[in-house]
Every structure is written in C-alpha cells, then in structure tokens.
Symmetry: C2
Subunit: 205 residues, 2 copies
C-alpha cells in the first residue's frame, strides 16, 4: 500500500478534504439548493473546472459529506451490552455513547446544521441516505428499548413510538445547542437529558 503515502496522492486527498469542508459550510449556510457551485469554489479558492475533477457533481460532494458524517457517527453508536458482566453498567454505556455523539455533533456546527435541516433535498438519493441513517439510529434505539423491557429495566411502552420520541428529543436538544450562542457544557446537558428521558419531568411521587 505504498500508493497511500505517495505525496501526490496525499495532495489530492488533501484537496478533496478542502473542497468537502468548503462545501459543508456552504451547504449548512444555504441548504442544498441554495448552495451554488460558485459559492463552494469561491470558499475553496479553486476554479470551476477543478471542482469537477474531484467530484462528478454537486450531489456527489453532498453524498461524500453525508457518508463521512455517518461513518463518524456510527463509530460512536453501538449496541449496549447487557449480558457481558465485564462490560460497564448499561446506564454508563448509554451515557458514554450519548456523550460522545453529542460532543462530536456540537463541535461541528455546520455538520449539525446540515444533518438537522436536510429534510428535503430534491436530490432523492441523498435524502434517502439521510432517512436510512436516522432509521438505523431509530432501530438501534428501538432494540435497546426492547432489551430494556425484557430485563425489566424499562417500563412497558410501544418500542417503535418510544424510539421515535427519543430520537426526536435528541434532535431537539442538538438544535437547541446549536442555536444557543453560549451553549452549556455537554456533560451537564447529557445529565439533564438522560434524567428527563429516563424519569420524565413529573416530580417524583
């Protein structure tokens, strides 16, 4: 795999990242349609034709950005291990994953904006990928619910509905963190959110 360290190849990859980063910002600011190739190449300081040497279309950059984001996010989300006695307690695993995910997303504002607002792109394929990603997360949540209910850790609820509610809650919180000019510390937010999700808002009694 000497090709991977070939300096020319490295420069190409770097250029690609540069374009993707510029595009990410522009997409976040203007949305998929509002983002013009002009704005992207202006921000990336390259010419029109150069853009098309690295990406075959506008949709292709968008897809690449989504793909990378999803890979990054997937790396932070996995099944909670309940049987393995060596693993940390479920609540601890849960907290760690939520923490890592939220931290990652909040650190990259343009990306967060992109993910949250990219509900309707006329690019059907990109929209479908986003849907698939969220469906995957929702599925993970649903299974977590089912497991939790089986072992008596969780109350009996419609797993599908609860998963949708939880996913929506996370989205709402991220949106709030993005909106705030001086967002509170992530660990404090996670504590509050987990409290609300697990115990609800009603006073104990």
């Amino acid at each position: 795999m000497a090709a991977t360290v070939d300096p020319a190849e490295r420069a190409k990859q770097e250029r690609r990242r540069q374009i993707m980063n510029a595009a990410k910002h522009v997409f976040a600011e203007a949305g998929y349609h509002g983002a013009s190739i002009h704005a992207i190449i202006e921000r990336a300081q390259i010419a029109r034709g150069t853009f098309y040497l690295y990406f075959e279309s506008k949709a292709a950059v968008f897809d690449s950005i989504l793909d990378q984001a999803m890979a990054d996010l997937r790396a932070r989300i996995h099944r909670i291990e309940v049987d393995d006695k060596n693993a940390p307690a479920p609540q601890v695993q849960l907290r760690e994953q939520v923490m890592a995910t939220l931290d990652f997303v909040v650190r990259d504002r343009p990306l967060a904006t992109l993910l949250l607002s990219a509900g309707h792109t006329p690019d059907a394929e990109a929209a479908e990928r986003l849907d698939q990603f969220f469906a995957e997360v929702r599925d993970l949540l649903r299974r977590a619910m089912e497991s939790g209910m089986e072992i008596g850790l969780l109350r009996k609820v419609d797993p599908e509905l609860a998963a949708s509610a939880m996913l929506g809650m996370i989205r709402g919180v991220i949106e709030q963190l993005i909106r705030a000019e001086t967002p509170p510390a992530v660990d404090v937010v996670v504590s509050e959110v987990l409290m609300v999700a697990l115990r609800g808002v009603l006073a104990t009694g």
Copy 2:
C-alpha cells in the same frame, strides 16, 4: 359586509383555496425549491398566468399556507390554566391540547410533511416564519415547565432544555405517525407519549 357573500367573491376565494391546496401537496412532495410553478398549476388545473392573478409569487403561496397552518395550530395551543379552580386539572388540559394538535396535524399529511421538513428554504422569510412558530411553541412549553416547577408539580430541570426536548419529542412522534402506513389511534399515541414525557422510560422503582 355584503361583499363577503358576493358570489363572485366567493368563487375567487374558492379558487384561491384550490391553488393553495394544490401547492401544499406539491410543496410537501418536492420541498420548496423542488416545487415548480409548473407542477402546482398542473395539479390545480389552471394556466400559468392564472396562478399569478391569485398569488404574486411562489413565495407568497408558501407564506399563505404557513400562515393558515399556524393560525389553525395556534387555535389549538394555549396556556394551561393552573390557578382557576373551575378549569379542568392541568393534566386534563394538557392531554386535550396535545390530542387536538396531534389529531389536526396527522389528518393533514401534506401539511405535516411541510412543517417537519421545511427546515431550510432558501426563501429566508419563509424559513424565519417557521422558526418563529416553533420558537413560540417552545416558549409556551418552557413557561409551562416553569409554572409546573413553581407549584412543585414538575421536577427541577433546565426549562429551556426540557422545552426543546419536548418539542423534539413531539416532532419525532408526528414524523413516526406520518411515516406509518397504518398509524395507530391518536388517543393511544397521546397516552403513551404523555407517559414517557411525564414519567420517563425507566421502570418505576
């Protein structure tokens, strides 16, 4: 106000509604940008010029649709009365409002799709209106939280954060109801959601 029952005037209003309805479906299916005037007038069975006799621009129809939706929704959401002893219990008021809102939204799928997915329109004014509407709802939720905390009904939480979480939860649930091909009865959903919101998902203990 005899002009309001003038048959000609009535026909005009009807035509307006017809166009708005067609546009609502097209916007929901294709998003703001993806919705072409062509698609709208085709669905409304009118000519291009006719459209511009009733709306001065594409953005204008979009705004009109949003305005009407927001008025309809606002009519179903108001402060929960806690001091008035003649009013129903807070939980009952809450249930009624959530019920009425969810029912209204779910009955009009295109509208729901429109509201949920219209995160980023390049039409800045329309996007701002949507933001304002959701900000209003969030504000209502936040104040409800604060009131509930004052009278000891609710646990102590960050009101702003909890409001964002609750709003996100509602959005998530609506999205799920829209997605389902055979959505469950609304009152069952409301019961489940209120349970999760108030008591959380953790088993009591």
